[in-house]
C-alpha cells in the first residue's frame, strides 16, 4: 500500500479522473449515443458530476483510516473534478440537449424547479473551485473551511435535482440519496446545534 501510494501515482490518478470524459467524448464521436446524443450525454455527465460530489464527501471519512490517509492529498483534485463534470453537464444541457434554443432554456428556467437545485450546485462548486488555490486558502484563513462546507449544501442540491426529475426508474436517485445522506450523517458533529447538545451530554457525563 505504502509503495503504491506514493507521489508517483499522481499522474495515474489524474488520468483516472479524466477517463469518464474520454469515454463520453469518444462514445459521442463513435455514434454510440445516436440518435439523441443530448439526452444520453446529459444523463451521463450528470451522473459523473454526482459521483464526484460523493467522492468529495467520501474523502475525509476514508482518510480517517490510517492506511488511506494519503487520499486527502487528492481533495482539491476530486473537488475540481466534481466542478468540472458539473460544468460539463450544464454545457451538455445548453448545447447538445436544448440546442441553445433560448425559448427552451427560458421555459425550463421559468417552470422547472429542479433546474435551480442544479444551478445552485454548479454555483457552489464554481465558488469552491475558484477558492481552491493555496493562495486563497491563506488569504481566507479560518473562513476558508467555513465556505468550503458549502459542499454539503451542494450535495443536498444533487439529491433534490435527482429526485425532482426521475421518471419511473428511481434506482439512480435512491443510490445517490443513500450515499449522500449517510455521508452527511457522518458529519453530524459539525452542526452547531448538534455540537452543543453533544457538549452538554459530555459535560453531564463528566460531572457524574
Amino acid at each position: 500500500m505504502a509503495v503504491f501510494w506514493d507521489r508517483r501515482e499522481k499522474p495515474y490518478v489524474l488520468v483516472l479522473f479524466f477517463l469518464p470524459l474520454v469515454w463520453m467524448v469518444s462514445s459521442l464521436l463513435l455514434g454510440r449515443y445516436f440518435p439523441d446524443p443530448g439526452k444520453a450525454l446529459m444523463n451521463l455527465s450528470g451522473i459523473w458530476a454526482s459521483i464526484f460530489v460523493v467522492a468529495v464527501l467520501l474523502l475525509s471519512p476514508v482518510a480517517r483510516f490510517k492506511s488511506f490517509r494519503v487520499v486527502s492529498r487528492y481533495r482539491r483534485f476530486v473537488g475540481l473534478s466534481a466542478f468540472f463534470y458539473s460544468i460539463l453537464h450544464l454545457i451538455v444541457y445548453l448545447v447538445l440537449f436544448a440546442g441553445l434554443s433560448l425559448s427552451w432554456i427560458v421555459s425550463d428556467l421559468i417552470e422547472k424547479p429542479y433546474i435551480y437545485a442544479g444551478v445552485l450546485a454548479v454555483i457552489i462548486l464554481s465558488a469552491l473551485a475558484i477558492t481552491s488555490t493555496k493562495q486563497m486558502m491563506k488569504r481566507m484563513g479560518k473562513n476558508w473551511k467555513r465556505v468550503h462546507r458549502l459542499v454539503y449544501l451542494a450535495s443536498i442540491c444533487v439529491v433534490a435535482h435527482l429526485w425532482w426529475q426521475v421518471k419511473s426508474d428511481i434506482t439512480i436517485a435512491i443510490w445517490f440519496s443513500i450515499l449522500i445522506v449517510s455521508l452527511l450523517l457522518l458529519r453530524m458533529d459539525q452542526i452547531p446545534l448538534y455540537k452543543s447538545i453533544l457538549k452538554k451530554y459530555r459535560e453531564s457525563a463528566c460531572a457524574k
Partner: protein
C-alpha cells in the same frame, strides 16, 4: 416481410421520414426494459402469430377474434405521421394499417360505449420488463369513443412497408399522432367498450404528470420539463434538431373540434 398493394394516402407527404434504423432501435416499450435500446434487444422472444384480440363490453359483437380476421391485408394503407414523445423528442414514421374507426364499428358498440379501453399482452415469459414492478402491468390505455372514431386514429400492423418489428408494438398497435406517444398502446390483446373513463397506466402512476387525454400541447408543460419544443430525431453529433412543438402535434384541423369548450390545462 413486406406488404403488397398498400393504399397510399396524402398524410404526411411534407414531412421528412426518420430513418428506419432510428425508428426501430430507439423507443420506449417498458415491457422490454427501461432503456431506449432495450425493446430491440429484448423483444425477440415475443410470439406474434397467431394473435387474438378479446373484444368485450358494450358492443353487439364481442368475443375473441383472430387478428387476421380483424385486419385484412387488402385494407392496409400507409400514413406518414409525426410521433411526439412526452419526453420531448419526436420522429416521423410511415405506418401501415387501417383507421381505428373502421375496425371498432364492426363490433357495433352500443350507446353505452362512451370510452374504449385497450390492454397490452401480459406475459413476463415473453416480455422480460414485466418481471419488475416498474409499471402496474398490464399496460392500459383508453380513449373517449369520439377520439377513437376520429379518422386520424389508426390501428397499425406495419411500418416502412413491412410488418411491425416486435420492438415497435407487433403485431398490432394504436397510432394517435395528436397525442403523446405513450397513448399509442402496443401489442394489443384486449379492446373493451366501457361507459366510464378507464384507468390508464401512466396516469395511474403519476396523475399530476400524465393525464387521460395526453394531447400534444406546447402550452401545458410536463411538471418536470417544457413541452414547447422537441428534438426531432435523429439529431446531429453536437447539435440537436430542435423543432417548435405544435398544438395537437400539428393536427389541429383534424382533432381540435373533439375538445372544443374543454379546459386543456385541466384535462391534460
Amino acid at each position: 416481410p413486406s406488404f403488397q398493394n398498400i393504399i397510399e394516402t396524402p398524410y404526411g407527404r411534407d414531412d421528412k421520414v426518420s430513418p428506419y434504423d432510428v425508428a426501430t432501435s430507439y423507443n420506449n416499450f417498458y415491457e422490454f426494459g427501461y432503456g431506449k435500446g432495450d425493446p430491440k434487444e429484448q423483444s425477440s422472444q415475443l410470439k406474434t402469430q397467431p394473435w387474438t384480440i378479446s373484444v368485450e363490453g358494450e358492443a353487439a359483437k364481442t368475443g375473441v377474434f383472430d387478428l387476421d380476421d380483424i385486419i385484412k391485408e387488402s385494407m392496409l394503407e400507409e400514413r406518414i405521421y409525426r410521433l411526439r414523445c412526452v419526453e420531448a423528442w419526436s420522429m416521423v414514421i410511415p405506418w401501415v394499417g387501417v383507421s381505428l374507426a373502421s375496425v371498432l364499428k364492426r363490433f357495433e358498440p352500443t350507446s353505452k360505449a362512451k370510452y374504449v379501453y385497450f390492454e397490452t399482452l401480459f406475459d413476463p415469459e415473453q416480455m422480460p420488463g414485466q418481471r419488475s414492478g416498474s409499471l402496474d402491468w398490464p399496460y392500459r390505455e383508453g380513449l373517449r369513443i369520439d377520439e377513437a372514431m376520429n379518422p386520424l386514429a389508426m390501428l397499425a400492423v406495419g411500418m416502412y412497408g413491412s410488418v411491425l418489428p416486435n420492438q415497435n408494438g407487433a403485431p398490432v398497435r394504436l397510432v394517435l399522432p395528436w397525442k403523446y406517444g405513450f397513448k399509442s398502446i402496443k401489442s394489443i390483446v384486449k379492446i373493451r367498450f366501457v361507459e366510464t373513463m378507464p384507468e390508464t397506466t401512466w396516469s395511474l402512476l403519476a396523475p399530476n404528470e400524465y393525464g387521460f387525454y395526453a394531447n400534444v400541447n406546447p402550452n401545458v408543460d410536463h411538471p418536470r420539463w417544457s413541452q414547447k419544443q422537441e428534438r426531432r430525431l435523429p439529431g446531429g453529433v453536437l447539435f440537436p434538431n430542435v423543432v417548435e412543438t405544435k398544438m395537437f402535434n400539428g393536427y389541429e384541423k383534424e382533432v381540435a373540434s373533439l375538445y372544443s369548450g374543454m379546459d386543456l390545462k385541466r384535462f391534460y
